[in-house]
Symmetry: D2
């Protein structure tokens, strides 16, 4: 069986040598406490696929390699697959309390399976064949794939060709063996700890922008690739922790991203899955986002919501306020938000379609995926607000749990921070809550799976306004036939 | 084939003689313009089941009578049935722009199919047998059944037995042939134009309240039944209309309800489906609300939303503002609200369960049904707000279209109310919009399928808080085993 | 003393002969039940100025005529005047439960006092002299003035000169004696029952649009003027009422508006206050809206909110649910909304300024006036939602109180609609609530004092973004001096 | 002149020796980078009172010492004073981007001026005399006073006497010279860097709880006092910063609070201002909160909003999206939120009252103070959401600006993070934004000036529901006189 354990995954990372910078220092993936949170989260995902409790959701049988593969490396081939995919996103969020780091890669694989199939059909290219060879390699070796979408973009009021041409990743040269690429992908969650990175267009491109219509796979640590990691207050807090058990999410931390710089990186043709086909960029991106908004936008956040609801109820009990009507009312509202996001993800899954017909690849419904994302982010700040309301001011003013180790103040902490529960438990759950409400999750959730405005555009575009007008006018008694705009 | 046409339905009503009061007058069902809107809506529903365009959704094959029956008289026996049921609710809303009047009855039939099955199994009663006989009668004759849930309740701070005992419908006497019932159901949508009324408990009852644990079917117009209909500004407007085409929803009007008084009405035992089994009232009500919140709470309102969105886009075009960014933004938000409600209804359907096991009866998921309802009503006022914003002040200040008939002012109306469309079309769609935003729909939607507070209680109760706490504590590193409240 | 009583006002109306159409019929102001609601509301406002309980707010000493005048005819000359003006708006709303019909006129008078002063100063015109003569006439005779702003506008995507030239009221001819005007003002609240109408530009005009830069006063019933009144379900309900005590707001009804058509109406020069000065239209409109958004947008709605809160608490007590935590929570939220609107109105008043300097005319602060309006309308639908939640479904399904007069059903109504209060009281307050939540108030409030988008533009324009950027950059440590857009 | 400069203030701190713990270490106030942010913020406030640009707002003439004093040590004696007080809160927020650390102290002084006056009048005590002596000392020496309200409270379901008696600060002994106090105040913003701490009840107490009805002043560093400071990710980030210019708010950081433990601290009688008078605790607390909700709850957050709006507009320009309609719309909404909070603060100030009559002490209006707070916190998460939306994902994923110092990656940062502005500016304002949206401000703002539920209770209590009911019933035509609950 090809499925790796967490330890085997960690072992496999030793063969890679990614150039990672954090702050102003170069760091080693398996040594730095912050980069290690990504490794641990990935390792846990590997372990979950082997755990009988989770395996049905976390793995799937792949006809391509005729064995079980991790669900993140699996191409969805039915609505039921899509539903399981959404469940996987909930489950990993519940278990990790942070990014599972595999969604963009998984969603890029599916979008490529669909789009390369269509390109080969229509253009007579060999992208799908190459892609399937690559996919076999990934599935057989149970590799972690990162999906790299977001370009740095530069001046948003300009097209790629109207400014520094490297603001979107592009082909700068080609030869018989392959292509040379340059540019930078940003907001890359967990890319530092994956085996492969799937580069994919961030948006649709137009004629004249062929150099940007580009998709390929590249091994982590390839020559010319540099990671510059995010640096947040949480990076510092972890660096200074005497014990990770003082931290809000001890093992898995916050979502860690990086910029991935491609300085003239060579990609052999067998790893190139799109190169110049601008007309297919819109569909490729759309297929990616349809999956990604269901998974990362909707389902994943339901798992986070579960943790916030659980924490809210826990702290309420610790404080002795769990029966207050306003507390119950807030928890009810938190549940409503959680279930709304997940209901939209379910609707996206069960309304998914084979795309294109004959490909065998299933993609979630676009409308519900986008609506899932929008509801998740509208609700997420409210979740933060409500668990913060219940937890009280201590959620931002808590002293360090390290204080328990100093006898000059430990008895003060024990005496004065006890409530209906002892001080240590109360402080622990409070720190856990701080991680949710006084940190990166709000804005991170907002932007994960793309900015709101893109979802709004998709929602407007996807709805059949003509039909809605027709129904309204029919009922109102307005005759249709003269309805051309020549009133 | 048993399915009636709309005309056959109307014909069949002539055999009934319901006592209906409107204002201070007794009125005849088939003669009064307001009661006729209910008849027309019902007739349209009958016709839709025969229309090839709609029949797949509007009818279903019933094994009980071995033929096709109207979906409102069908017992859901799979998740796919539930999904079709939700689609039916959307569809009738789109076509009627008002209540289809059949949901409470349909949802009561299904709840009874499930609950009588369970009662017979556990108690050895014959309720299910009676119910199936009744159902055959209904299906074979394609009867319209109204569901009567809401009791008048009296003083809400008191239980049924602590006040006038008739504030909830109850058994006042029994004999060998049947029972005598007294009380009043209120907010009965369309009951005046149904063939049968299925009376059902409005809430769960406790020991000592056996007289209220009561369900039965009664033919419309039975001795002792009196309908007192709602009287609203719309009743008056229709009464005074010179032509229904001046009205906001010309054919089908607003949802018409009535109080149904039962003054010592005799019900034969073969029509009694629950009588005293207080322990089963909770489940019975829960099963009803699970269906009803999916259908009436969630899906139905998506159909209304389609009409409001269509009207918003139409008036925007008529005014020449359809490309203004704030208009597109509002329409996008209207779509988001619409699709959220429907996504929750879909989730309720595809997560439905056979209940109880072995019964063959499928009931939608409770959580998503309740969430569907809550999202619908939170969003509905917003829909009203947005279409009203786009339509402008004329949505409340419009003169009557009757003015076109008076030559002293018709040219003024034509000249001064034209915009990017002629005045008549603009005024027509504006009146249609008025019907949605300056009338009964907001509060009506809010209360349809039960008050918000009951949905909140269901949502709180349905969520697994213990599991959420467990996941949060596990990730935070708080040991479970000492978690009993003896900290 | 010049102040008229309500009866004297009604008497004075007999001298006017406005051409009013309602539906397709011509009606007489003092005879039709709907037009009479406007007369009664106006009469009440007259009486309030003479009532010792209200006179301090409702009247003011005018140095121009050296006596007390109604506050609606008074030019605000201090911040305290502005505060009293806001209080007047609250007070009349509380007493009438509908429009007091005098705000647009009052706000137009003040805007003209300010703008004619400035025009005369800068252009050497005589508008201010004319205006003061007119104002003396108004004050001495205690005349009711309507303010007519909103033009019909036609196709919103076109300027006045790009379409039928009459879509905005304009000068079509001039001679030595005066001007001839044509066009139509719409949404004119209560204009039918005022003595004078002050016509005023609806928006700012540009060079080439001089014919539209127009302000004048015209006596109600002047030759060429025609009123076409709104016709709503409430018009019909009142027409059919056997007793006004069955109606939601028995005496004063809903806000009644009309279109006012000017078909080549002659206006003598002494009543013309602006004619062609396009450059002053922006300021004139801005001064009007600054007052109007404080009064009609903010303060007035606080008075309505008081009535809705009072009704919510009353029905809660009648139903026996006033101590339920969710009821108290909703009432608390209703109060928050109410007080927020009024706080913004207060801020607008106490931050008002003399404008222009030397004129002695005080105008409320623009930002707070606009914010008052926006908060009012965002909150208003919420108020409707909450009082409707508390009142229950009966707020839309109530039978007519006329039913109490029919012995066949009166005992049913008494028995089955009693709660913790008798049925008649419960039904009465429910009907009162219906008037607020299932009728014209939501959309009417939204559009009163102008569409949301204009308030948004004012808010954006009024804020000192440059200063905000400067403060942010200073604190962030970004040097200002290189901040020109030539980065 | 008594007013200290910032440097003089810092100099004066050298005479104090507070026992401060941060993490598990004892730290020195003037040496630790985190504690120094508090010192610097305080010093800036001192300097502002001497700066001609700010002095009118930041200082006031005190008749008590017959000279100018810092406004935080001044007793408000008019509505204009209250308005200036609100302006001060805005101003310091704009300049510091964090807490000015003086509001609780200032608001406690005013509440004591009022309450000790009333106690002496009614009880013949000498509290007011003592208080004025203390106040003179404070004013003459321009001392920074911290206000200590929030007790740790322990189990919220229990009263102070039903649990560990030290969960609320209390008197444990008394003698002729003074009292001995024990307990712990929590969430004490900036107390570590003040000269004096004014201890004040956190809530009203009942008979039997006299030991808790306690107010006194104590010098920072008195024997028995220990500070245990909050420890957040921001503490660590500052500790590890190579240059404070890498930080989100370089000079003044985030709001720093601590627990203040009183272990049997001796307080001489001349510093005791309340001791056992349980009946006066409700009024004392109410007067404090009336000021504090206007200042800290409402006005202060308007200043923060200015910074967020300024940052939003700056980053929009840096990215080249400042003219996108959705960006302008978001900024408009941010302004609306900002101005609403401030309008409520203005209303609270100009509706303030002398309290009690004769005292000369002015206290803001309770309703508007509470409404200001609630609107601020409801809006604050929205502000965060919107500036985060505009800033993009980089607001959480930004690499450290320290990277510019490493030549291996600096050119990558410059190249790939430039937009319509150079990378350094864009990264700087992004880090500034991160400080607002991905940190302590959301939950901190929510709880500052007390939890929401207390504001809700005040709003409900403060509104005249009886009068609102009366107005509604009058208009509805319901007779008042029979309205006693004996229906």
């Amino acid at each position: 069986m090809a499925l790796k354990s967490g330890n085997e995954y960690i072992e496999s990372l030793k063969n890679l040598d990614p150039k990672i910078y954090l702050g102003d220092k170069k760091v080693r993936l398996l040594e730095n406490p912050t980069t290690m949170t990504v490794v641990k989260a990935n390792a846990k995902v590997y372990d979950m696929a082997l755990d009988p409790k989770y395996e049905e959701v976390m793995s799937a049988y792949s006809p391509l390699v005729e064995e079980k593969v991790g669900r993140s490396n699996y191409i969805y081939s039915s609505r039921d697959d899509l539903l399981k995919r959404a469940q996987m996103a909930v489950l990993t969020s519940q278990v990790l309390g942070t990014c599972n780091y595999r969604c963009p890669g998984a969603d890029a694989l599916t979008a490529l399976a669909s789009t390369t199939y269509e390109m080969d059909n229509k253009l007579g290219t060999e992208y799908n064949k190459r892609f399937n060879n690559f996919l076999k390699h990934v599935q057989k070796n149970d590799l972690a794939c990162s999906g790299a979408l977001t370009d740095v973009k530069g001046d948003r009021s300009k097209r790629p060709t109207q400014q520094d041409p490297d603001m979107y990743v592009r082909v700068v040269d080609k030869n018989e063996k392959g292509i040379i690429v340059r540019g930078c992908k940003i907001n890359q969650s967990g890319a530092i700890a994956s085996h492969e990175t799937i580069v994919f267009p961030t948006t649709s491109f137009r004629e004249g922008e062929e150099d940007y219509a580009l998709s390929f796979a590249v091994e982590n640590g390839s020559m010319g690739m540099t990671y510059i990691s995010q640096y947040t207050p949480f990076t510092a807090e972890r660096a200074l922790a005497s014990d990770i058990r003082e931290l809000g999410n001890p093992e898995y931390g916050v979502r860690e991203t990086s910029m991935v710089v491609f300085e003239d990186v060579f990609i052999p043709w067998e790893r190139v899955f799109m190169c110049g086909e601008v007309k297919f960029t819109r569909k490729a991106v759309e297929r990616f986002t349809r999956s990604h908004r269901m998974n990362c936008g909707g389902a994943c956040k339901s798992g986070f919501a579960d943790l916030m609801i659980g924490a809210a109820q826990s702290i309420a009990e610790y404080l002795g306020i769990e029966n207050a009507s306003h507390v119950r009312d807030k928890i009810t509202e938190m549940i409503r938000i959680r279930e709304t996001s997940y209901a939209c993800a379910i609707a996206a899954a069960v309304s998914g379609e084979e795309e294109p017909k004959g490909s065998g690849v299933y993609i979630p419904n676009e409308m519900y995926g986008n609506v899932a994302k929008v509801n998740s982010i509208y609700g997420f700040w409210d979740l933060m607000e409500m668990v913060g309301d219940i937890a009280g001011g201590l959620s931002v003013t808590a002293p360090s749990e390290r204080g328990f180790k100093n006898p000059e103040i430990s008895s003060y902490l024990e005496k004065y921070l006890k409530a209906a529960a002892p001080a240590d438990k109360r402080l622990r759950i409070t720190k856990f809550i701080q991680n949710w409400i006084a940190g990166l999750h709000g804005a991170g959730t907002w932007h994960g799976a793309g900015p709101l405005q893109t979802q709004k555009m998709a929602i407007y575009r996807d709805f059949d306004l003509e039909n809605a007008k027709k129904m309204a006018k029919e009922l109102a008694g307005i005759s249709e036939k003269e309805e051309s705009r020549a009133w």
